[in-house]
Amino acid sequence: MAKVFIYPATSLMLSDLVARYGHKPLGSALSVREHIQAGGFDSPPLQITPEDPKKGLHWAAVEVPSGVRGRMSLYGPLVEEADAAIIIEESDFAFGCMGCARTNELLIFLLKQKGVPVLELSYPKTKEEGVTFVASIRTFLAELGGEKA
């Protein structure tokens, strides 16, 4: 089983696909769940406090906007944990969406820098492209050694 970072990290479909093929998806659900379950946080809706952007300094310098650093405090640890990544570019809002373009650029860069296997795909616009899209993901996940659903 490999830990696969998914981009967009909020994509439930992508998360489900990765899990179906026997791998562990690394996405928003994981990092946000940890924040919600941890005691003592009181900043709704994501339970992020001003301490989190400071933790984000590990991945982005102090002159980087606080929102980018706050996001990196959630996603940075997942990138470090990742054995592989699937990146879907230009996806539809409904597929999964990450709010800050600058964070997204940094995340994709860090994933590529890491040297783990990365599958980069464009979001499908037709049914045919959709079939190829799912097949590509399946092949990529199978090559990572996961169990088939």
Binding site: P50, D52, P53, V64, P65, S66, F93, C100
Partner: protein, 414 residues
Amino acid sequence: MSRPVRIAQLTCGADYSGVQNEIAEAAKAVDAEVFYPDISLNDLRRDFDSFGLNVKSPDLKLVIARAKALVTGKVEADAVFIGSCFRCAEAAIVRTELRRYIHMNSTLPVVSYSFTERTTSGTLLTRMEALTTIARRRALLAREKQTGITMGVDSGSSTTKCVIMKENEIIGTGWEPTIEVLKSSDLVVEAALAEAGLTMNDIEAIGTTGYGRFLIGKHLNADLVQEELTVNSKGAVYLADNQHGPATVIDIGGMDNKAISVMDGIPGTFTMGGICAGASGRFLEMTAKRLGIDITELGPLAMKGMGEEVPMNSYCIVFGTQSLVNALAAGSTPEDVAAAACHSVAEQVFEQQLQEIDIREPVIMVGGTSLIQGLVRAMGELLQTKIIVPHHSQYIGATGAALLASGFVDRKKE
């Protein structure tokens, strides 16, 4: 009990910066509530495309679509708070354009702010208070004439001022440096009463403003305790006799600066503070001290100098003072240094704050620093307009408070 003022929140990055709670707390403190305008995915796609500003961040796309929902009336609100992360260029463009868009296409009061993880509810409080005042007290802000005998006290970070007005005229003033808030307030009240030839029993209503407004408001049992953004706007257009139509009010204070775009005496968009002491009246005080002159002499001295001869343009009061010391050591004249200091402050305010509002003529400068002619000249040059400095401009907050407090005289009579 009146319903809370509903402030639409158009922000990108507030939750991830850990400041969402601070925004909500600031609103709650002034009996308001923030909410995200609810829109559908289809609205988002359509309204973002039709706005025409093709930003990449999805949260900014959402902010744009939400702004359109407010302007078209699809979602109702009393006021708008636009916020984004400090130092984000993409968001800064959106913030500016949306503020302008909402201001030009609706009557909703708007404030914009760029936050960091250090932003607290205290920092946002005055802005939220101003938003709720504009939304809740339009009738009070519409007052154009002072009636009865009223007092206004402005407890600022550097100075405390008091004005007594009677039937639309200023009849007494008091001015003291702010040391102990209550003691300074007592002194200015005493001075103003003495000049007016009145006692406290003659005063029919009292208004307080400035940083110490709550404390002195309680101390004086004030009828009106009001933040300085709306009070100064009112005072400025009243004293400049420009109560109708557009105007821009600039107040460079001792601790923070206010720039307010006004329509018919009511603030539309405004910005407050947020930059360093190199762009405040405090730097001019430091300059006067280093030149060995009184602050009142700095303006006339600056008028004789050529600021371009001296390199000085720092946000930071320490670096600014360094430039000042270096210039004097290199043989610059006190006149040139004074002019450069005025230009430096004006330039920081112009670059950092005036970009946050729409400058509409006439431009009215108020507050104690408006008496420094060199600063007014520098600001006029940067804005390429003739700046109006009304009489009693250093008493702007106290005058605005006395004017607005007279609304309570009428109520008491009823």
